[in-house]
């Protein structure tokens, strides 16, 4: 077996080379409306009347917006140190005593490092633990150590786990109280920091377990979640210039999947179905939708936009999103090539 190393490419004189491969990178495009720390602020609001809610983290309070909660409720905040296995086992224990812990870390550390601890102490025992994880999918330029390309695949395979992949600040503000009101374990993909604000313009209302049509269109149907719903909406607007009418069906709840709404939307004849997700093409929304369509004997033209089955590169997020096909430009180009 031979080791492979990446070869450096020199900057092109025509295109500036972006210079950051930082762990934390903004997902907001330039000039986009944003809101600060929607998760932390929403949690504070819910916790004002829900005294059973506590916050727990493993040395990532600041980077998961849980510091907002910690500042407001210091005596309800548990810093567990950089020990994710302990973090989730302890969350199970505190939930067993009747509390509702909101637990934060990065998605890689929940989905990969602490998987068995979540599986056995939280999901198997059906503990009322709410897991909110930053850096889902490809939202870090730091390399595979921090890129949770596979978190949905892993958590989808875990019985009892509800999975939510919200799109923007407007949605996160509604997801947090829904998580608190839901009985049982929940995994939420967290967007933190300055989070884009998009869905308010669509009069959107989050409902746990429901897919929602954000715009209609006769030629293409995007079925998307999380960050990629934002991109699909932008792509749909741009594709109008090419006389391509694209609909966007937003599917924030990955599990349980709103199969009925998805299948009904895909049944409409003549539309190319494009499932778009900030996740590896293996085991995420794309394959979940494909399987649902097969079972329902609905067979539209079908394509997937998602991350490739490989260890992703370090680099600036816009560069990486372009390279791996989840930028708005890349999505538009792919859709045109498929038509």
């Amino acid at each position: 077996m031979t080791a492979t190393t990446k070869t450096a490419t020199m900057p092109s004189p025509n295109k500036p080379r972006l210079t950051t491969s930082a762990m934390i990178a903004s997902i907001a495009s330039e000039g986009q409306r944003t809101k600060p720390a929607p998760f932390g602020n929403a949690l504070v609001e819910v916790a004002r009347t829900r005294h059973d809610i506590v916050g727990m983290t493993a040395d990532l309070g600041k980077y998961t917006d849980l510091h907002v909660f910690a500042k407001e409720f210091p005596d309800r905040y548990y810093q567990m140190g950089m020990a994710e296995q302990l973090l989730f086992a302890a969350a199970s224990g505190i939930a067993a005593e009747g509390f509702t812990p909101f637990v934060t870390t990065y998605a890689v550390f929940a989905a990969r490092r602490a998987y068995d601890f979540i599986h056995q102490t939280i999901a198997e025992e059906d503990r009322n633990v709410k897991i909110a994880c930053a850096l889902p999918g490809l939202t870090s330029g730091y390399g595979p150590s921090h890129q949770a390309a596979e978190d949905l695949a892993l958590f989808r395979a875990m019985p009892n786990m509800t999975i939510i992949d919200p799109c923007d600040a407007h949605e996160i503000e509604q997801v947090v109280p829904a998580m608190a009101n839901h009985q049982g374990p929940v995994y939420m993909r967290l967007l933190r920091g300055q989070v884009p604000l998009v869905l308010d313009e669509y009069g959107y209302k989050f409902e746990l377990g429901k897919a929602k049509l954000l715009r209609d269109g006769a030629d293409v149907l995007f079925v998307s979640s999380g960050l990629l719903t934002m991109r699909a909406l932008e792509a749909a607007q741009r594709l109008e210039a090419d006389r391509i009418q694209a609909a966007v069906l937003h599917v924030p709840t990955i599990k349980p999947l709103d199969t009925q709404t998805i299948v009904d939307a895909c049944r409409k004849p003549g539309r190319l179905v494009v499932v778009a997700e900030n996740h590896t093409v293996i085991g995420g929304l794309g394959e979940a939708v494909a399987a649902a369509l097969m079972r329902a004997r609905v067979h539209p033209a079908f394509q997937q936009i998602g991350l490739p089955d490989e260890f992703l590169a370090a680099g600036a997020l816009p560069t990486l999103h372009d390279r791996y096909g989840i930028s708005t430009e890349a999505i538009c180009a792919a859709v045109k090539s498929w038509r």
């Binding site: 548990y78 067993a96 005593e97 056995q120």
Partner: protein, 282 residues
Amino acid sequence: MSGADLRTNEPPLAERAYGIRRNALRMGEVQGQGYIAQALDIADVLAAAYFHAMRYRPEDPAWDGRDRFLLSNGHYAIALYAALIEAGIIPEAELETYGSDESRLPMSGMASYTPGMEMSGGSLGLGLGIAVGMCLGLKRKGSDSRVYTLFSDGELDEGSKWEAMMSAAHHKLDNLIAIVDVNNQQADGPSTQMMGFEPLAEKVRAFGWFVQRIDGNDLDAVVAAFDAARTHEGARPRMIIADTLMGKGVPFLEARERNHFMRVDQHEWQLALQALDEGRRA
């Protein structure tokens, strides 16, 4: 019910330990094999826990004022079932179902199956972390209940145990009593040869715990250790390291070398019960 104080008219602890061993052997016979040697080695500790140290209501195993008992080493379920039967939490007749389809007594302990079973073990390394969270939760509620958790020396190989040990000391969890069964046996052989853990007491003391090391098959020593753990005034978690003998109480099982998951022939179960009875008379 406050454990020792109100139970002075009850059978002596040695009789309880005998009852636990006898229940375990009868369950073992149902399967013909199992973690029998461990059940026999830990019976004295469980007798002292359930009939001296712990507070609980047999008729209401989920009573909020109970002390919690977290069985981290889920394969010791046969031992805990034996104690729960002895304590009246599980009816004795149910031991005939041990490890069988539809039984509430699966071979590996799981919270959703069995009254009195507080966690799902099996995957080793989970219990002490859960205990940390429960202790934090109990303090938050203003409860004076304690969390007892049992694991064995092999489980010390798991890094999560040491995360939890650091955390318990950091959070000053004086409502936590951890019991380590040092029988020096794990799946592939003697625990000390798989990954050395000694000097254990010194290590855990250095982590900030109140630590006692005792002969886990000396009932008086076990009782004294539980008393010291409960009355210790330091704001720190407590550990009882119990050195035990695999198969304790049944000499021909004590002498067996391959004893982690033991096969016992059909005719031997009766011999084992007889040996146990002889020890009781002596």
